[in-house]
Subunit: 604 residues, 2 copies
């Protein structure tokens, strides 16, 4: 019997392990102790580094066979950051929802749910009809949830036979006093889960919050998670991990809004194809196997109780439809919010920079979409010091060309603990323009900021004593390689898609950027590194989380929900992986900004 003690800054858990030895990562996962493992235990990413009895080891590669102490540094559990609630008095938090609602003015708030008031007669010996007969006759109801039936007797009597009923069609869902009609929109990102709670009578957003997707411990990208889900018991584990994320998140936003979770009668979930399959416990293996056929593209309406969402068990849950194996409900709903489907006589490119990148190009006439396996680097994932855009993240950066010293800002004005997506874009652009790295991402200058660890060079943004984690915050050559491949995937996808449609890059009227990269994205730097085409900064606009905005629109309006299905059906999915020329485009884009410098005239 070995005792293994896991220590983090916040907690200490000791596990008595009866086997002859246990893999540290497996043991931690079994007991829901979070260790970041973007490569899901392959030993390749190096992010699961922990201290075993004082010595650095990779948790995924180490078996403990005796009483041990495992210290988990803050960095190794960075992605499982807790719930972050939004301050709704900050206008920017709600801008995209207001925009979506205003621009989708043809959709009035309509969900099939309503609150109906009724005055019943009191039963007497001569009129002894039961409560349900009395109510269902008055309101012409055909069915009721068991929850509503159980509330019925006391509600009628305490309200003097006057009742406010929550009704959907001819079904009773709940009965007052003073019921609220609330709804939940959730964007399940591979890295981040974001949710809003809305009043379904007024459309008002009552609370907004986000949290790290707990599935992260099974890998940073969808492929690692599908592989994990294919193992025996894996599907239940992945499903449990996302429910463990959703449960406290939903509890907290209901709390902030001051409503009971039972008052949430409708929910919309947007997420990529893998995320919605894993949430529902649907087999996901075929998503990654030729011919790439998911279990479901257009979901039938499900109920909260089936999914085990902790809201009214009878709530209808609408899952945004997938367009392909790698273009999911986050993109179809996001396309709704992007409004490009309404665009007459001009064409826009909508780019969702999530853990994978997805592109939609077109207008009212046509819509094409594709995915590019950019990987999580653009969001800060799979990078040695990467983090979500939350407190402690370095979100922008400038490097003085003569001193090679950096200056940056940190979200929350605290000591830095990592670098988020927008920070990496600036950092790479600045490293390149100041000549610290060359076009291939290799270090070309010397500075006190540049160190060499076992032959791998890195640039240190913040030294150990300046950082919250107590380690250097840096970008390594491996990170640079990752990042360059990620930006190359995006750029080459844009090129290949437009070329395939016989569209020149400069025929794009507008480029709409969405995703968790953060509102701080510096488009000039994104063009400098060759991630986005060099077609004039005035054509770029950052939208924010379009997936969540689309979910909110679908939540408040059945017509908007139907429109997303319409968008999905009108969208043509292009599989870039089988597209002739894509690999060549990709290789050409694996330079800063590109092997073909004519594509980036501004830099000349």
């Amino acid at each position: 019997m070995n005792k293994i003690t896991f220590k983090t800054a916040a907690s200490e858990i000791t596990i008595a392990e009866s086997g002859t030895g246990a893999n540290i990562l497996d043991l931690a996962r079994e007991h829901s102790i979070d260790i970041d493992a973007p490569c899901n235990g392959n030993g390749t990413c190096g992010k699961c580094k922990v201290k075993l009895n004082g010595r650095d080891v990779l948790a995924c590669q180490t078996v403990v066979t005796e009483d041990s102490v495992v210290e988990i540094p803050e960095g190794a559990s960075a992605f499982k950051s807790g719930i972050k609630t939004a301050d709704l008095s900050d206008e920017r938090e709600l801008a995209i929802f207001r925009d979506t609602q205003r621009q989708l003015s043809e959709f009035t708030i309509e969900t099939g749910l309503s609150i109906v008031s009724v005055q019943l007669s009191e039963p007497t010996a001569d009129d002894p009809a039961d409560d349900w007969t009395r109510l269902s006759t008055a309101l012409n109801l055909q069915s009721a949830s068991l929850f509503a039936l159980s509330e019925l007797p006391d509600a009628l009597r305490s309200g003097n036979w006057n009742a406010d009923c929550v009704v959907r069609g001819s079904r009773l869902l709940d009965i007052g006093p003073d019921p609220r009609l609330c709804g939940l929109a959730v964007d399940i990102g591979t890295t981040t889960v974001a949710a809003v709670l809305a009043d379904l009578q007024t459309g008002e957003i009552l609370a907004k919050a986000s949290a790290g997707n707990g599935q992260i411990r099974y890998g940073a990208d969808v492929i690692h998670r599908i592989v994990e889900a294919e193992k025996p018991g894996g599907s239940a584990k992945l499903r449990g991990a996302i429910l463990d994320t959703l449960n406290p998140l939903i509890a907290q936003i209901a709390d902030i809004a001051g409503i009971p979770r039972i008052a949430i009668y409708r929910a919309v979930i947007t997420g990529n194809t893998t995320m919605n399959h894993l949430l529902l416990g649907l087999p996901s293996a075929n998503i990654r196997l030729d011919p790439y056929v998911p279990a479901v593209m257009e979901f039938p309406v499900l109920t909260a109780s089936e999914i085990a969402l902790p809201i009214n068990p009878d709530a209808e849950v609408i899952i945004a439809p997938n367009s392909g194996s790698y273009v999911g409900g986050d993109v179809t709903a996001g396309t709704l919010a992007s409004l490009i489907w309404k665009r007459e006589d001009s064409y826009a490119l909508f780019v969702d920079l999530g853990t994978n990148g997805e592109l939609v190009f077109g207008g009212a006439e046509f819509l094409f979409c594709c995915a590019c396996s950019a990987g999580p680097a653009i969001e800060g994932g799979d990078m040695s010091c990467g983090t979500r855009a939350t407190d402690g993240a370095i979100e922008d950066c400038v490097i003085d060309a003569s001193t090679l010293e950096p200056s940056f800002s940190v979200i929350g004005n605290v000591k830095p603990s990592g670098i988020c997506g927008s920070g990496y874009i600036d950092l790479v652009a600045e490293l390149f323009t100041s000549g610290i790295i060359d076009a291939r991402g290799k270090f070309a200058k010397l500075s006190r900021r540049i160190k060499d660890t076992d032959g791998i060079k890195s640039y240190v943004l913040a030294f150990a004593d300046e950082s919250a984690s107590g380690s250097d915050i840096e970008i390594t050559e491996i990170d640079l390689d990752n990042f360059i491949r990620a930006k190359a995937a995006i750029f080459s996808a844009i090129r290949t898609m437009l070329a395939g449609l016989d569209f020149a890059i400069d025929m794009i009227d507008e480029v709409l950027i969405a995703g968790g990269i953060g509102s701080g994205i510096n488009f000039a730097n994104a063009v400098t590194i060759g991630m986005l085409p060099d077609i004039g900064l005035d054509k770029y606009r950052y939208l924010g989380n379009t997936s969540l905005a689309g979910a909110y629109a679908m939540l408040s309006s059945s017509a908007a929900s139907a429109q997303v299905t319409e968008i999905k059906r009108n969208m043509t999915y292009l599989d870039l992986s089988t597209h002739p020329g894509y690999m060549e485009e990709f290789v050409g884009a694996c330079f800063i900004p590109h092997t073909d410098s004519k594509l980036f005239p501004s830099a000349l």
Copy 2:
């Protein structure tokens, strides 16, 4: 910290109790240790007698304040007997179901469920539609349970794109290989729960079993249980107790039938008004409060997941409708099985001798019903040696008029452990005709069988050394008093009801007896003691468990289910408790056979 050890013949459980003292009955209930308490802790029934450190005490009236040993004699947990499975090779077990099915020949087996086979085309890169689109398009399906969706990918691929689907309307419930369509009928009696599992394609009964209702520990009759349910947390406790009974019962019959519980797609539940309210967690208080208005009489269709029945979560659960606060779904469904509603030009009396007695009188023209608070004595409940009609129960009895010695048979041919309903009817009739007791149930003779304990006389059927419990099996004057009141309640209800309708007793063409009293009921003895009217033995017929037979009919046929609702709507409920003359009738019937001996000419 006191350690209290509970000992039964089968087990020993020690509880460390941190308080300053604990009521033995409360403590036992908290830890699901079964002590019979028909009066629910009022200290009146004497059935919770246990040995505390070797001395007899009433568990409900005793607080332990030090380390103690509580021995629970077999008798004190007799009603919580385990699951009894039926031997289906015994013709008698299935007779009532066969009869019901045959007589209800206008109902073909029809449940809205079907198994549909389909051959789909295999997806290719050119035809990459998702699994659900492929299937739903082929079968014109509109919705699916999440369970079915999760089975879909593997079922299609393992079956070479040929699939057998379980479909209800346009909804997919499951997908093969080789699905079975099964259904569950459950009669929830106050004392006994009985269930059959049926094949919904053929109607064949695959398994049958019964168990004691676990709510018994909160009282033998419905009033005690309603009172308990009204306490804080009480509703959940009562609901939990019946689910704890149903869970293993359903698991076992599924096991016997060799089908997974997920293959049970439809269920029908019959039970009295209190039983169905407690099962569903509906407030039951108003059932016993003037003007006696239950929450629900005609139940909307519910799902297994709402009720937490361990069968297919999407299964529709049909609850037989209640006719009144004290005439529930067991009687409306039982009336269907009794067939009296089909009777042209003649009138029958249908008597369901459950824990309460219910009467239905009429034919195709009209139906009247009423309840009489006979209490559980007729079933053997609330009697010092009462037991259900299971192994060890004395089920009949003859007393030699000269020696006053008894002879009897015991179910299962084992040592007797108690007396069931049919045994009590015989015993009381024999005690009376042999002159051992007088018309008021008082002992009038001396014999070695008659003992006196603290002034309470009793007749011993089996002495301690002959019994399984190691105690005398006897009937006391208190039992006799209980029993006489119970039989009087039934007889006076019959008289009052018919008198109210201006029907003479001898206009009844047939008396149909149902209930858990057992097929051994001796009608001559039942007439002798004045429980049933003296109108000729040829008019009496024992039907068995009509509630379960009705549930089975409703399960196999939607038309039968609709017919029960029709019966319910056509039935007129009479409230005897407010009926002028009922009390007088009752008092007159509290003799053997009756104060008015002209009513029982056979005995003259």
